[in-house]
Amino acid sequence: MRLKTLIIYFLTLAFIAGSSFFLKSEAKRPQENMQLAGGAATVLDRSFSAFEIPAAGLSETELAKHVETDPLFDKSHIPLNDHLNAGLGPLHNAKSCSACHALNGRGRPVEGESLFRVSLREGGGTQPVPGIGFQLQDRATYGHEPEALVVRSWKEEQGLRSLKTHITRPDGTELPEETVARSLRIPPPVIGMGLLEAIPEVDILSNADPDDANGDGISGKPVWNTYKNGEKHIGRFGWKAIPSTVLQQSINAYLDDMGITTPIHPETTFADNDLPADISWAELEGVTYYTQTLGVPATKETSSSRIVRQGFKLFNQLECASCHVAKQKTGNNPDAVAAVINNQTIWPYTDLLLHDMGPGLDDGVAEHGLSESSEWRTSPLWGIGLTKRINHYVGFLHDGRARTIEEAILWHGGEAESSKERYKSLANKQKTQLIAWLQQL
């Protein structure tokens, strides 16, 4: 539980005010103030706690609520007596949000605490595994058996590694790789989720081109969720862009990852299985609020630095920005949980759309038919340079296979194949420039 105080808040406001002076002159140049990755919600912190700082610009009331709800993210859940299977589990992957999202950052694939999405290969990876479903819970509360145990190893080939798994049920039967697709999912950082949630759907759709009508080889696809009330909304979060809101992401994570049920609406204490929910609406809403009001760290370099000028230029030349769209703007939502979320220019480097990343990243699991197994949401790149500093571990892409940023680039295929090939053909000096720029995000 970490909290930067009003002093940092005011220092950040002063920084932003000062930056605005330069913004006027910067606006005349090609680059804008990219250092403010989260706009006015940017925090001036690149320490180990950089991902745990409340957004700059929160009002006193909003900040107090962020502080109050902060402990919920670290809260360890336990089995309870209230009703059958009350509390944690019995089947789960972790017992708290921060158990996976350590220091709000990128998780590690820990043995016995790894999240695998699974499906039958037959039918294109859209069918659940009998007796398991779509997510394998490898932990269970005392007195229960986990769904399966996973033994992992890495296979190295031409400088890149890929994951090999051996999955067995408690009775010893194996889930064969030939028939059961499996996909290890590393927990992504939780910074900036309130800002990403606030990008208007029309803006996300402006980058979409699912049939590649313009013939540029990029076919960003939105994921449409249909809610019980019939409304359709674009998915934004997670590796496959399924949940549309931070609230839905939280509900899914509580249930799928911790075996914790949540109330179906604010006026009830019951879950949709007609049993009392394991946590209250206040707790669910609190975790959601905490996540929505986290800040985004400023980049290390200013927009005018040579590292940024050189690296960002290469980023665009390689057409990485076709999917990792550099700049977005949040809308103006009168119901926004914090005023600072509205009307911000942010630099997340994502279009929030699905892209086919080629056979190398095709793990055979198509999420409920909402995506193909080779399609992945463009991961936001903000904060990527802090990964090692915060988590003391580097593992990029959905299963953490990429040990460096370069390895992550080299795994790009499908729609990103040409960008990868352009990277490979760069001179070493230029590769260094691009990586240096990414590492200061």
Partner: protein, 321 residues
Amino acid sequence: MKLRFMPVIGTAAVSLALISGCQNTPTASEVSNAMVNKVVLPSYTNLVSASEDLESSLNELADDPSSKNLEKARDKWRAARKAWELTETWAYGPAETLDYDPNLDDWPVSTNELSSALSTDFSSKTFSRLDTTSRGFHGIEYVLFGDSDLTAQELEYLKTAGADLEDNADGLLQSWRGEEGFGASVVEADPASAIIDILAGMQGCLEEVADGKLGTPFGEADEGELESVFSGNTGTDVVHNISGVQLAWERSKLQNYVQERNSDLANTLTNQLNDAVKLAKALPARLNNKLNSSSTQRQIAQLTNALREAAETTASIAGAI
């Protein structure tokens, strides 16, 4: 002759004073080095030693469950607890990222799970199936400070849990040691970042104590939110948490480093930490019995304010240097 030498002596004295003053101001490298070698490694070495003592006492208790051995084991738990609580300021390292913190200090205790496990034949295999919320300091505390008439299963659990605790304490120490350890390869390798991280760790600890350990439980009058409730050690934990912040501040020479750059802030923080420790030491024993006491609530409010002010000063220092 005396008068002729006076200017020389005077100049020499001034020069010496200047040199001494400069030598008293540490560099960033010296701060990061001191943090590793004078703060963290000694603290984790103490933790391992205290954990070994606790493990031994739990083994003795299992062999001879007398009231004398029970009290000895409880004392050893308190001593090991002190050794751990002093280190929470630097938990941002492997304690957090390699899961030593939850392995040692998860809360709340999963009393349902533990009670269920202890109602059957208890073995190391049973222990291996327990979550961290049934192990570590608080799992041991739950059993050790519960019913004095310990069952065979509970004694077996205490032996196993004591060995597991020591194992994790040792793992944590080793993770900081050596050329490839966190101390050398991360902290000492980047002194500027190390200073920012030390300050962030100090601030985080102060705020966690203010909000998580005291603010929430007293605000909600919820005993279940109070750590170390079974032993009544909550207040003592708090004293040691704040003392750990002082250790990081003083023994790493960070205090001197900041003094050189902003003596006002440095002095303010030193005084605030001293005041906070005094307020914490004045708390009554067994805070879990005082949740509804208005005088204790006033003391808690005063202490949490003091902690938050110290946290603000720490943040100011981070911004100023």
